[in-house]
Symmetry: C2
């Protein structure tokens, strides 16, 4: 077999068998192990500028335009959850990844991997939900694929969406562009999606149901980009939460990040659930949140514009970029101390998106 | 939950519960049931010209260029097989779908859904194989995603690749463009991939090992398009084989198709294996084959050009488009009779790609 023959003479696996003999759930958690896998296995082999940027999508010029291209698989469990379902999540997630590149999302593809035995009605609910989400985001689903695997070899349904968008020519959004002084703005309370999923899994009940924040952020991004030319980074803190997102940006930009705990919006319900479950909300996934890194001179303007949008009414400045401690994120706590906000190895919660 | 609330007032599932209460393996087989699912569930909801075309990818203009965009999930079992593996297949398959739109493939994305416990070395072999395939096809893998699902909720690894290509401005390739008189050219012996997989699964041994024909067809397509402007349709007969491909084209173009059995190239080994296994080679999947529908005036020229390419040296004219029996494919047998070449309900072989 030619590939196997090639391999026997090829480079050895960059993740030593003594460390990880096989793939763990944590390798998909969006934390340190995911980063290691991506860097050592994928970036090392498929080496190119676009992949190396570790943006939410690849950005490339073609003809007289610049495009963004992104893909994500959705394996969330359960597939229907308070506030949404896997179909809506799959559309919004890829729309948001494109928006985080400063792109206007245009076209999506959707590839379904269905486990034999999925109720036809569940598939139908998912399709209708994707349709609604695509309409809400103003994108068109133009191509797809359907595969079915034997019972016990999948888990209901997995959906992979990919998307293409056109990058705003005035935007220069890139995780490496964070600069000292940049204000970090979040568009609303964090940790909602993860807690919504976890409360279903654990059968927890709260006074009011905690519903996923899944939402298309492209409209909000359009408004942000219109407001200020000095937006340097956009990032949706999904798997691994705000903590992982700021760590990735600190590493990409080789700057330091300083968060202020008291400034980070979080609802009482979610805070309570995190305490009960023993979760740090900084690490809990969001699906309708973004972090905008904005030059200080434009920060108030962008903040006000965000607050005038339904998905940004609770926007807040939660920290800033600093020249000290490059590559590292710190947080000033309520009581005045400062702690390192590191990445976790895996994630607190598998199959969250 | 808003989606669920919407749904209760929404349209009923278009596949009646009395027919198919749940998704069957056959719904992913590329035959009639797949077609029904796609038409009734997806095309009806995500209605737009691009999706309705049921091309191998979506074709859209942007700026001063025209692009093709395609996606496919790969769930093949086993993941390593004679002649290739899931990684190589995932690259070649999407490269080929773009090429079948008359596009030069440029960029690929790759989304991995890994089952916890996949040996790290297997992942590495797959990555190296994808790298080799991308280099051979001249495409760049620019973005990706990695998810891990719990043991028993996946099957080793599933890979979804999506791709973007630039459509040759001189090409007008579309399944609806088949015209009476068009010659149907195949680039070599059929049914090889499916039999290679099946012989591994069944533990069959032949005098010489039957190896998958997986290959990137974009180089061959470039040569075809350079040779003749009168190429109307290109299609890679993967799931469901040549029979399903010609049926789809007969339906899209509302033309008839007439194949000549004796003209269809097939190796002795594959023919023998088909007889042993009870398979009709017309329905067996290919992964390195294409059908080109070419105006009669250009057919010999295109055939000769194909034969001068390593992946087309056994190219042959296997039939033609006719004005009679629109939407239906017939085949003239060796002994002179004519039979209908219908689509199967599902497929003979699940998890073939």
């Amino acid at each position: 077999m030619k590939q196997i023959a090639d391999l026997s003479a090829g480079p050895a696996c960059p993740i030593p068998i003594t460390e990880y003999r096989s793939v763990l759930l944590a390798h998909g958690g969006g934390g340190k192990l995911t980063q290691q896998l991506i860097q050592k296995m994928f970036v090392s082999q498929f080496d190119n500028d676009m992949l190396r940027a570790l943006h939410d999508g690849a950005v490339f010029p073609a003809g007289n335009m610049t495009f963004a291209f992104s893909t994500d698989s959705y394996v969330i469990k359960p597939i229907f959850f308070p506030g949404g379902d896997i179909g809506e999540l799959a559309v919004n997630g890829t729309v948001n990844d494109l928006a985080m590149c400063g792109a206007k999302p245009l076209y999506l593809s959707s590839a379904f991997i269905i486990e034999e035995g999925l109720p036809m009605d569940d598939l139908w609910r998912i399709v209708l939900s994707m349709k609604g989400a695509a309409e809400a985001a103003g994108v068109r689903l133009v191509t797809g694929d359907t595969k079915v695997v034997d019972r016990g070899k999948g888990d209901g349904i997995f959906i992979t969406t990919s998307g293409i968008g056109v990058v705003d020519p005035a935007a220069a959004i890139d995780p490496k562009n964070a600069r000292p002084g940049d204000k970090i703005i979040v568009n609303g309370p964090i940790a909602v999606h993860g807690i919504a999923i976890m409360s279903v899994r654990e059968g927890l009940e709260f006074e009011t149901e905690i519903r996923s924040d899944t939402a298309p952020l492209n409209g909000l991004v359009e408004r942000i980009l219109k407001a200020g030319k000095d937006v340097h980074v956009l990032r949706d803190p999904t798997r691994g939460g705000v903590a992982s997102a700021v760590n990735e940006i600190a590493q990409s930009s080789r700057q330091g990040i300083l968060l202020k705990e008291e400034a980070i919006p979080i609802s009482e319900d979610v805070r309570g659930a995190c305490e009960i479950l023993g979760f740090d909300p900084l690490y809990v996934a969001n699906e309708g949140k973004l972090l905008a890194f904005v030059a200080p001179s434009s920060a108030d303007l962008v903040l006000n514009e965000m607050r005038s949008h339904p998905l940004g009414k609770d926007a807040a400045i939660i920290g800033e970029v600093v020249g000290d401690h490059p590559g590292i994120a710190l947080m000033k706590s309520r009581i005045g101390g400062t702690r390192v906000v590191d990445m976790l190895s895996g994630e607190q919660l598998p199959r969250i998106c």
